[in-house]
């Protein structure tokens, strides 16, 4: 019973702290000056000839992060293959 009361107090505190912290950066829905994103939206169709701005960011302007993510997928698959090997005890 005491843990449930502590849980309700923790819910209110964390929700309020999240709202206050994010509100102090910029109000919700009005981001202000964003020079990098205006550059991406204006120049993505002329230089890279892609209609989808998000895909051109993922694969062209920030393609190095996608290389790291492909490496993470590969590492996960090899680790699972290593966990489930059949033990040949000799």
């Amino acid at each position: 019973m005491k843990s449930k009361i502590l849980f309700f107090i923790a819910v209110l505190v964390v929700a309020g702290v999240t709202w206050g912290a994010m509100e102090s950066v910029h109000p919700f829905g009005f981001p202000g000056e964003t020079p990098m994103d205006t550059y991406f939206v204006e120049h993505a169709q002329k230089d890279r000839a892609a209609n989808n701005v998000v895909t051109s960011i993922v694969f062209d302007y920030r393609g190095f992060d996608t290389l790291g993510e492909a490496a993470v997928l590969f590492t996960a698959v090899s680790s699972i293959a290593l966990i489930f090997r059949k033990g040949g005890r000799s």
Partner: protein
């Protein structure tokens, strides 16, 4: 075996009618990655779900010996190799430079500015990398499913396990 039995007749008939449709829809999401929302990662997850659908409805006895490990290993390694080679081929300017956009050859057509319906031939190495990552995600997720399902069979084969129902607390 008692676990992983096939589901009922209705589930099996509906699965046979719709599994190919999931593969075709997933390929559509992968190939049109530079025109509509989607891309390599999302379409690869859709195609891997079709494989899980087939194995669950037809049961472990019937479906698991038909899966071969070498096909998925080959798919995943081919995708990763094409991705890295497309990055190294543009080493004249910088790593991962888009050297095929707005030129005349493969995937190199110009598009009009502003809102338009898309051109499939455009946007250089972005479309190439999309398909390479799609192959890799299909192979990788199918391999994870294959190893986990064979791990269930290994679990059920051992005899020295607890027989009571576990996990019900309070």
């Amino acid at each position: 075996m008692r676990h992983m039995r096939p589901l009922s007749v209705i589930a099996r008939v509906v699965c046979n009618a719709f599994a190919w449709f999931m593969v075709v829809f997933g390929s559509y999401v992968i190939i049109h990655g530079h025109l509509t929302p989607g891309g390599g990662f999302q379409g690869g997850a859709v195609v891997a779900t079709a494989l899980a659908f087939l194995v669950i409805t037809h049961g472990g006895d019937f479906a698991l010996p038909k899966l071969k490990k070498e096909l998925f290993i080959g798919l995943e390694q081919a995708g990763l190799l094409i991705f890295i080679c497309a990055g190294f081929a543009a080493l004249g300017t910088t790593f991962f430079y888009n050297f095929l956009a707005n030129s005349g050859g493969l995937f190199g057509a110009s598009i009009p500015l502003g809102p338009n319906s898309g051109v499939l031939n455009s946007s250089g190495t972005i479309a190439l990398m999309n398909m390479a990552v799609g192959f890799e995600v299909v192979g990788g997720l199918s391999l994870i499913l294959y190893y986990m399902l064979h791990g269930i069979l290994q679990n059920l084969g051992s005899e020295e396990m607890g027989k009571e129902e576990t996990g019900h607390d309070r």
